[in-house]
């Protein structure tokens, strides 16, 4: 019995975990690389993409909700969001219940850019899903969910994130 698995069951586990680390690194690198390349031509960067994505995904989102998702400071967001509003990608209107809030949504220009950028990423995911098959996709989702910290896991439950009571 010279099988590594048998002699040292920890070796394979270590290798398995390192592969997991690297899968995440390479997948994320390539996943973001494509839109980054597109953005590079315009005067925008990855930070703008993230804002456009999440505003498009949650029309009427507030600034602080966005900050919570991105986990950056308001000063960092401010610059990026300010540009996007100034260039007409993102529109804002005051909240109805709470007029201090700025509810954000994409303008037509923003919708178009969002589609352009996310299209590539969707295609990449669609390709990977198709090749891997439905069962693999289920496994992928389970593992990815387990990698995410508790507070944000609920975003992926069937009824969406549980809004905290006001």
């Amino acid at each position: 019995m010279t099988d590594v698995k048998t002699v040292n069951p920890l070796f394979l586990r270590e290798e398995e975990l390192r592969q997991g680390i690297e899968l995440l690194f390479f997948a994320y690198r390539d996943f973001t690389g494509e839109p980054d390349g597109l953005l590079a031509g315009m005067e925008l960067g990855r930070a703008h993409h993230r804002v456009i994505y999440f505003v498009g995904r949650h029309p009427g989102i507030t600034v602080s909700e966005l900050l919570g998702i991105l986990r950056i400071t308001k000063q960092s967001l401010s610059r990026v969001l300010g540009q996007l509003v100034a260039e007409g990608y993102v529109a804002q209107r005051p909240g109805e219940r709470d007029r201090r809030q700025r509810l954000l949504e994409l303008g037509p220009k923003g919708i178009e850019l969002e589609r352009l950028l996310t299209e590539r990423q969707r295609a990449r995911i669609a390709g990977a899903y198709r090749e891997a098959g439905a069962e693999a996709v289920e496994g992928f989702r389970k593992v990815m969910l387990g990698l995410i910290d508790e507070p944000d896991r609920t975003r992926f439950s069937p009824r969406g994130p549980s809004r905290r009571a006001p």
Copy 2:
């Protein structure tokens, strides 16, 4: 039949793909967040972590191989790597066949730091793998591999990356 799936099969697919995008975003955010937090105390950042990780993973790696993995410029790497060498985390020795090369490996200090940083990430992956089960892990790997661009996929085949003939 008012089931969305039946009425508009594209809707669910779109939602499915967007979930994939977000799983990647949140998983990567939380996955890197922990080591980033640790590094923040020292005078090091995520870039140093990446270098330490891949040097530890491939002892004797050359500078250009490292550049190929990280996909950054030699000037960017130079700053980070220079610090790590100066601080004694990484050791270098000239190549034997080709003395222009600097073969990189971790010093004892580097090994310790690598363990400290990667430990958390391994634990996170191990937890997610354990909760999800072996079958899910297989699916996770399949999908992740499909997300990675061709040239780097071979890193994950059983015999490792195919080295180009010298």
